[in-house]
């Protein structure tokens, strides 16, 4: 009897330590997950803090709508529009390359290609997506730019066109793989229905499958363009460092990201207005990509056709 109570006692004790252990582990895991909130808050706090100091000396209006960006030279001017127009040029160029090719590849992969072809093309797209951006920058500067200058001799050595072409190649795999997922989620019964009323393979793809997957397709465009906005190395290497309010793609420009890199490469001391500009520009960049990402995810969720 006594022996039995002893064993139950030690069993109970073991069980209670085990329960504490369980709670401890769960708490530890929770803290790791909580880190993602901490990082988000830290990003916002860091950007907001220095940006606020910046906006004490520069009016928000002058920053957002000024047309000259010369923050490091006298006379200083803090109009961010040239950087925005530079980024815009890159995004438009990237969209013109990445979206049609990406969508066409997705249609081909999901509607036409055999399993064997998919097995070849998918890894190729993965490799394209995995190539570091600095490599794309090198490719733009030493391959695409000479090619452009051969066709159009007045092209600058650093130009928006060449950078936006490689950014387009860079976002292409993302468009292709997200669209492919969306197209493959369309149930076969829709395709069969269209064939039954006499549609050709193309009509099935473009008038039935793509419209049925439209939310996924559009979301992939938005997410890819948000990636293009934040792209840094290729535009730093190939697009130049001259903030200029222009829509001419063969001229040298500067994007928001390239400007941030330029300042951090120089020896701008902390605490000066020149140093604070990277936080103001960084905050603007963060807001733009955040809005685009949220929009992308909302399109994906809101307008998703649910097939049973």
């Amino acid at each position: 009897m006594a022996v039995q109570t002893q064993t139950t006692g030690s069993q109970l004790r073991r069980r209670s330590t085990r329960r504490w252990q369980e709670h401890g582990i769960k708490g530890l895991l929770f803290l790791c997950a909580l880190l993602s909130i901490v990082v988000t808050v830290a990003i916002v706090a860091v950007l907001a803090r220095e940006a606020f100091t910046f906006f004490r000396s520069v009016r928000v209006w002058d920053f957002l709508f000024g047309t000259r960006w010369t923050p490091l030279l006298e006379p200083r001017s803090f109009g961010v529009l040239p950087l925005l127009s530079g980024t815009f040029l890159i995004v438009v160029g990237a969209a013109m390359i990445g979206i049609p090719i990406g969508l066409a590849s997705a249609v081909y992969l999901s509607e036409y290609a055999s399993a064997r072809v998919r097995g070849i093309v998918k890894p190729i797209l993965e490799i394209l997506a995995g190539i570091p951006t600095v490599v794309y920058g090198y490719f733009a500067l030493t391959f695409i730019t000479p090619l452009l200058r051969f066709v159009l001799p007045q092209t600058n050595i650093f130009n928006a066109a060449s950078a936006s072409i490689v950014v387009g190649i860079m976002v292409l795999p993302m468009v292709a793989s997200l669209c492919d997922d969306a197209l493959r989620a369309v149930p076969d019964s829709l395709r069969q229905g269209a064939y039954a009323v006499g549609a050709t393979h193309m009509e099935v793809s473009t008038r039935v499958v793509v419209p049925a997957a439209l939310s996924g397709v559009v979301a992939s465009f938005v997410l890819a363009l948000s990636r293009a906005v934040g792209e840094t190395m290729a535009v730093t290497i190939a697009a130049g460092a001259s903030p200029r309010l222009t829509l001419n793609p063969i001229q040298s420009i500067q994007t928001m990201t390239a400007y941030i890199v330029q300042v951090s490469l120089g020896d701008t001391p902390a605490g000066t207005i020149g140093y604070q500009t990277i936080f103001a520009v960084g905050a603007l960049l963060f807001v733009i990509t955040l809005v685009a990402n949220i929009a992308g995810h909302m399109i994906l969720r809101r307008f998703r056709e649910v097939y049973e």
């Binding site: 909580l34 995995g130 934040g230 490469l265």
Partner: protein, 291 residues
């Protein structure tokens, strides 16, 4: 009769269009392969003449014929080892919490939202964060440590998302069987769920680390772009890394340095290819074992 003719002509036109559409989709898809091939061939042709043992064993130099990537190779090795040490435990732990423990609550949905957003934050913003918090506030300076911590934050969302997918693929029957035999939740996870999700977690982690190897902008932000002609001896030393060295060479005007950059790119891509191959092999073997 006329109507029949007209509809036959119409059908022929539609068929032709369909044929052209098929061909152009196929051509655009294979264009990706062509672009990849052109990129690789171009870099190899430019870089190969410079690529020898000397290139791997020399420090960077003003003179192209004496320049090498020794400090960059060691820097990348240091950076990736530390990044892996920080980001893998935390990332996998967060994934386990979110998949195995988290119930619907306000905090958990906040975690989900911030995770989705963090995955889309441009890498250069992580660089600004690292510069402010690690380099300045924590006083780590322009060290490997600061670089690795910044990089860890950058790839954490990728590791978490990949690990969660791997955990989700573990069938519930395994968990139920373990619980039925009296295992606690942690025992179930530790001895059954993690082992069977391990290949998926490993694959995702390797891919995330290969992203970190190629990432340049955050390192430039924290100030890693300096002339470093020594191998870091500890986590607090200054460092350079492969992509930084490549950027440094690309941004010089001389043709020789561009070719050096190409040689560096060949090395970088070779490293990435090896890691990707490892990931593919792990994925392949685990799929075979599952059957």
């Amino acid at each position: 009769m006329n109507m029949v003719l007209e509809s036959t002509a119409n059908l022929a036109r539609r068929r032709l269009k369909a044929r052209l559409f098929h061909l152009s989709c196929m051509a655009l898809t294979w264009l990706c392969l062509v672009m990849l091939a052109v990129l690789l061939i171009h870099a190899t042709r430019q870089g190969l003449p410079w690529l020898d043992v000397q290139f791997l064993r020399d420090f960077p130099s003003r003179f192209p014929e004496r320049a090498g990537i020794k400090s960059a190779l060691y820097g990348t090795l240091w950076l990736i080892s530390l990044t892996a040490a920080f980001s893998i435990p935390i990332g996998v732990a967060a994934a386990i919490y979110l998949e195995e423990y988290a119930k619907r609550s306000r905090v958990n949905s906040l975690i989900e939202i911030s995770l989705a957003n963090l995955a889309g934050v441009p890498s250069i913003v992580y660089g600004i964060l690292g510069l402010t918090i690690f380099v300045r506030w924590l006083g780590l300076g322009r060290s490997v440590m600061a670089g690795a911590m910044t990089m860890s934050l950058l790839i954490l969302p990728i590791i978490i998302i990949a690990s969660r997918e791997a955990l989700r693929a573990v069938p519930d029957s395994i968990r139920q069987a373990a619980s039925a035999l009296g295992a606690t939740q942690w025992q179930t996870i530790r001895h059954h769920v993690i082992p069977s999700a391990l290949p998926g977690i490993l694959t995702g982690t390797i891919l995330a680390l290969s992203r970190a190897i190629g990432e340049t902008a955050p390192l430039i932000m924290i100030g890693a772009l300096t002339y470093v002609a020594f191998v870091p001896k500890g986590p607090m030393d200054a460092f350079t890394a492969l992509p930084i060295q490549i950027f440094n060479w690309v941004s010089r005007p001389q043709q020789e340095f561009h070719e050096l950059a190409a040689a560096g790119i060949v090395v970088l891509l070779a490293v990435l290819l090896l890691m990707n191959a490892a990931a593919v092999i792990i994925r392949h073997r685990s799929q075979r074992n599952r059957l």
